[in-house]
C-alpha cells in the first residue's frame, strides 16, 4: 500500500523524536479561533495524566488560510501552577503539517496514523479542532483504556442535546448496533482513542480515495475495529459542544458520505454481520454526570416541506427502492398534519434496510440513491423532534433505544433480501 510521503521538515522532526508513547492528532481546516483551546486542553491532559510518557501532538491541516498552523505552534500553557500542575517530565513534541490526498477529515487522519506508525506509538487519540467543551480529562479517558487496560479502540460517550446527532441516532447507531451486535453509542463521534496496533491496521486498508477520506472516516474506524475483533470500549466525556459546522457542508452530501461509507462497509463485512443476532453492551469508562446543554433551535415545518417535496417528485425512485407497499405507507404519513406527523419505527427500519439492499444491488448510482434518502431522513427527523418535544433527555434516549430494538428485530428481513 502506498504511504504518505512526509515533508522534509516533518521527516526531520520524526527522525529526531524517534519513538513516542502517545500521539494526539488534531485535524483542522481554518480553526484558528478554536484550536488554541483544544491544544491547551491536550497539553494539560498529557501533563496531568501522562507526565512521564513521551507524547507528540500532530496537527494535520487541510490548507488553512487563517494561520491555524501558527496557533498550534505558538499555543502553550505558560504557567502550569495556575492549573495546579507541575511541568511535564517528558517534553511534548509538536508536528503541524498540511496533509496530502483528497480534502477531508479522513485524509487528515491518515497522516496522523502514518505519524503514529513512524513513531511506533503505543496509544493514539484524535480530537476535533473546533471543540469548546474539551477538558484535560478527555485525554485521560481516551488514552488510559488503551495503555492500561489493553483496549484497542475507545469510542466517545457524550451528553448531547436530544435534537443533535440525528444521523447518528436514526441511522448509524441503530444500523451499526443491529449489524455488528455492539452497542457503541457514538460510532461517528469524532473523538477517539486507539492503539498503535490498530493505527497500523488502518494503514493496511486501501480506502483513501473513497468517502472514507472525507466524512466517512469515523464510521469506517469504528466498524473496522469492531468487525476485525479489536477490543472496543467507550469513555464518558461529558458534553460535546463545538463550533457550528461549515454552513457550506450540505446535508445531502454529508448524508451521502456517512451513509455511503456505512453501506460500503456492509459489503466488505457481509460475512461478519450476517450471523450476528441481537446486541451486547460495550464496557464504558468515566464518571457519568448530567450537564447543561445549549438550546437547539429547530424548524420542523421546513423539514416536513422538504419531505413532502420528495414525496411529490421522487415517487419513481422511492417506489423502486421501497416497493409499492412501503411507498404507499410513506404516502399515507405524508398526508398527516404537522402536529400528528409520525414516522413509524418499523417503516423507518425498512426504509434504511431497503436503501442498503438497493445500494448492494446497485439499483441507482450510489450518490443519486443516497441523496434521494434526504427528504425521508428529514421526515424521520421532524417526526422524532415532534415526538420528544415534551420529553426529557432520558425519555428521548429511550425512544432511540426502541428504534434500535426495531432494527434488531427486522434484521432477518435484511438478511433474506441480501442476495
Amino acid at each position: 500500500m502506498k504511504t504518505v510521503t512526509f515533508r522534509k521538515e516533518v521527516q526531520e522532526q520524526l527522525d529526531l523524536i524517534k519513538t513516542a508513547d502517545i500521539v494526539v492528532g488534531i485535524p483542522s481546516f481554518n480553526n484558528a479561533r478554536t484550536i488554541g483551546h483544544v491544544v491547551r486542553a491536550v497539553q494539560a491532559g498529557l501533563a496531568k495524566y501522562f507526565p512521564d510518557r513521551k507524547s507528540v501532538l500532530v496537527n494535520s491541516d487541510g490548507g488553512s488560510t487563517d494561520k491555524t498552523l501558527d496557533v498550534v505552534k505558538e499555543t502553550s500553557i505558560e504557567d502550569y501552577s495556575s492549573i495546579l500542575l507541575h511541568h511535564r517530565v517528558e517534553p511534548l513534541f509538536r508536528i503541524a503539517t498540511p496533509y496530502s490526498g483528497l480534502p477531508g477529515k479522513g485524509s487528515a487522519f491518515r497522516t496522523i496514523f502514518e505519524v503514529a506508525e513512524a513513531l511506533d506509538a503505543k496509544a493514539c487519540v484524535v480530537v476535533d479542532s473546533d471543540l469548546r467543551s474539551i477538558t484535560p480529562e478527555w485525554i485521560e479517558l481516551l488514552v488510559k483504556p488503551v495503555l492500561e487496560d489493553g483496549f484497542d479502540y475507545v469510542a466517545p460517550l457524550y451528553h448531547r442535546h436530544k435534537y443533535d446527532g440525528t444521523i447518528t441516532n436514526s441511522i448509524v447507531y441503530p444500523l451499526t448496533r443491529a449489524l455488528y451486535g455492539k452497542r457503541v453509542r457514538q460510532p461517528i463521534g469524532g473523538d477517539f482513542g486507539f492503539s498503535g496496533k490498530l493505527a497500523k491496521f488502518y494503514l493496511t486498508k486501501d480506502v483513501w480515495q473513497t468517502d472514507v477520506a472525507r466524512f466517512g472516516i469515523d464510521i469506517w474506524m469504528t466498524t473496522t475495529a469492531i468487525a476485525n475483533q479489536f477490543r472496543v470500549t467507550q469513555s464518558f466525556l461529558g458534553a460535546k459542544i463545538h463550533d457550528a459546522k461549515d454552513p457550506s457542508a450540505d446535508l445531502s452530501s454529508m448524508l451521502y458520505q456517512v451513509v455511503g461509507a456505512t453501506f460500503e462497509l456492509m459489503e466488505t463485512y457481509a460475512d461478519v454481520w450476517k450471523p450476528v443476532r441481537g446486541s451486547e453492551p460495550v464496557p464504558a469508562f468515566g464518571f457519568e454526570y448530567t450537564v447543561g446543554l445549549e438550546q437547539v433551535n429547530v424548524n420542523t415545518g421546513r423539514m416536513l416541506n422538504l419531505f413532502r417535496e420528495g414525496l411529490k417528485n421522487l415517487r419513481e425512485i422511492w417506489t423502486d427502492v421501497l416497493g409499492l407497499g412501503d411507498f404507499r405507507e410513506v404516502e399515507r404519513i405524508g398526508l398527516l398534519g404537522a402536529k400528528e406527523f409520525r414516522f413509524p419505527l418499523g417503516l423507518w427500519t425498512r426504509v434504511i434496510y431497503d436503501y442498503a439492499i438497493a445500494f448492494h444491488e446497485k439499483k441507482l448510482p450510489a450518490e443519486h440513491l443516497i441523496k434521494s434518502l434526504t427528504p425521508l431522513y428529514l421526515g424521520k427527523t421532524a417526526s422524532f423532534i415532534l415526538e420528544v418535544e415534551q420529553m426529557g433527555q432520558q425519555e428521548a434516549e429511550a425512544e432511540i433505544e426502541k428504534l434500535c430494538l426495531e432494527f434488531e428485530k427486522n434484521k432477518e428481513y435484511l438478511i433474506t433480501c441480501w442476495k
Binding site: 443533535d164 444521523i167 447518528t168 466524512f215 445531502s252 456517512v258 416541506n305 423502486d320 441523496k371 434526504t374
Partner: protein, 234 residues
C-alpha cells in the same frame, strides 16, 4: 434458313451461357443468405441469453428504457427487443454480402456504399445510447438536487433538462447519419432557440402572472422557513 435459325439461337445460346456463368453466383448468394440468416438466428439466441444472464431487463427498467419502449408501443421485453434489432442488422449485412456475390457492378456499387455508411450508423447508435444514459443521469441528478434544496418545480426542471438534452442528442445522431445535415442544423437551431425564446416570452410576457406567482411562492416559503435549524446532524 440456317442463318435465320442462328439469329434466333445465338441470343438464346448467349443467354444460356450467361445464365450458366451467373448460376454459381446466384447459388453462392443463396447459400450466403440462408447460412447468414441461420447464423443470425443463432447469434440472436446467444445474445438474448447473455442479456438475460446479466439482468439486462431489470437494468433497462431502472434506466427507464422499458418505459421508453412502452411509450413507443413496443411491448417486447428489452432483451428480446435488442435481440431482434441485432438479428435484423445481421440480416441486412448478410443480404448485402449475398448481393455482392452476384458480381453485378450496379449492386456492387450499392453494397460498397452501404458498407462505407456502416461506421456512421455504429457511431450514431453509440451517440444515441450514451446520450440517452447521460441525459437520464443528468436529469435525475438535477431532480434530486432540486428536491433537496426545496425547489418547488424540481420535476419540471428535470424534465426540461432531459428534453433539451434529448433534442441535442437527436440532432447529433441525425448529423452523424448525414440525414439532410443542413435541414437538421437549421431545425435544431430553430427548436433549441425556439424553446429558449418561448420560455423567455412566456415568462416575460404571456406568463408574467404565473411567473410572479411562482417567484412569490418561493419567496414566501423561504421567508416562512427563514428560522434556521441549529441541529447538528452528525
Amino acid at each position: 434458313m440456317t442463318d435465320f435459325l442462328n439469329l434466333i439461337l445465338e441470343p438464346l445460346q448467349e443467354l444460356f451461357l450467361r445464365f450458366k456463368a451467373f448460376l454459381p453466383n446466384l447459388l453462392a448468394m443463396l447459400v450466403i443468405v440462408i447460412a447468414g440468416i441461420l447464423l443470425a438466428r443463432l447469434l440472436r439466441a446467444v445474445f438474448v441469453r447473455f442479456l438475460k444472464a446479466i439482468n439486462f431487463d431489470s437494468w433497462s427498467d431502472r434506466m427507464g428504457m422499458t418505459t421508453l419502449l412502452r411509450k413507443g408501443d413496443l411491448w417486447a421485453k428489452p432483451a428480446l427487443a435488442l435481440g431482434a434489432i441485432v438479428f435484423w442488422a445481421l440480416v441486412i449485412v448478410v443480404l448485402m454480402t449475398g448481393l455482392s456475390a452476384l458480381k453485378i457492378s450496379a449492386i456492387d456499387q450499392l453494397v460498397a456504399q452501404f458498407f462505407m455508411y456502416l461506421p456512421r450508423v455504429f457511431s450514431a447508435v453509440l451517440i444515441l445510447i450514451v446520450g440517452y444514459v447521460l441525459a437520464g443521469f443528468i436529469s435525475r441528478a438535477m431532480l434530486i438536487a432540486a428536491v433537496n434544496s426545496g425547489f418547488h418545480y424540481a420535476k419540471l426542471l428535470a424534465e426540461a433538462i432531459r428534453l433539451l438534452l434529448t433534442v441535442l442528442i437527436l440532432a447529433m445522431v441525425l448529423e452523424q447519419l448525414q440525414v439532410a445535415p443542413g435541414i437538421v442544423l437549421a431545425a435544431f437551431s430553430i427548436i433549441f432557440g425556439g424553446i429558449v425564446a418561448a420560455l423567455a416570452i412566456s415568462f416575460g410576457v404571456g406568463g408574467i402572472e404565473a411567473a410572479k406567482r411562482m417567484i412569490e411562492r418561493e419567496t414566501v416559503e423561504k421567508r416562512a422557513n427563514g428560522a434556521k435549524d441549529d441541529i447538528e446532524h452528525i
